[in-house]
Amino acid sequence: MSCQELTLVAQVGDHQYLAYCEHGSIHLGWYYGTFHLQWDDFRRIVRLLEQSVDTPDFTQLKGEGCCLIRQKNRCLQFWIGPTALFLAEAELSKLVELVLAALPLLNRLQIEGGEIELHNISQYYKINRLRTGGIFGAN
């Protein structure tokens, strides 16, 4: 699958973002890698990340097809199927923030669908970025 067009939905850094492609996949970009996720996978990830907020002292959290493992040095491995994202301890909250901020927009997008809505989301992002310096404000 090759994606011609990505629409940015949320961003917490230059290389940490969530976007939506013309195939309907959600792209989670985090520095050196990008995960291409289907909706169901994304929802599973959201559930797991929400769980991590509720139980911050976890050593291992298991979700459906995904899990979070805290290493002895407190760094984290976020496994999504057979692939994983390595996170420094402080990055987990950043990832949670990114995913939760994108969720309402992505949900709306899935319900309404179509090119027009993609355009609207793009506009929404631009407007919020102009007003607040990004969907996440000045962070």
Binding site: L6, H36, T83, A84
Partner: protein, 140 residues
Amino acid sequence: MCTQFVPLTKSNDFRYILRCEHGAIYLTWDLVTVYLNLREFEGLARLLDQGTYLAESSKIVEMGCILIYSEQGYYRLWIQNIAISLKPVEFLILADMVRVALKGVQEKQITAPAATPALERFQGYQRTVTASANLSFSIN
């Protein structure tokens, strides 16, 4: 922003290697795409080549990549902050893809940007990707 891609190898629609106009290598393996510069990609090729000969549990490191091999024949490959778990046959496929891609880069003498910091390689996320690869997957 990367807008032009040269396909280097393709195993299927979800496993392929491209090179962008800035010289960065895009390695896509199922649900993940990893970005490497040419030096890192050469290191990855060396690592996977060494991994082919592993016979007992071990861990080898090369240019920011780590390859962990278990006695059961399974591999875990870390490329910077991304890990991929590989079954034995998948490891061979990936190693072959990387070998073919590197050969393609070297033969075509595609120029790579010198000493570009890794994170400056992918300034954008909007891509135009050629869907079909010109090279056959395996040179074997």
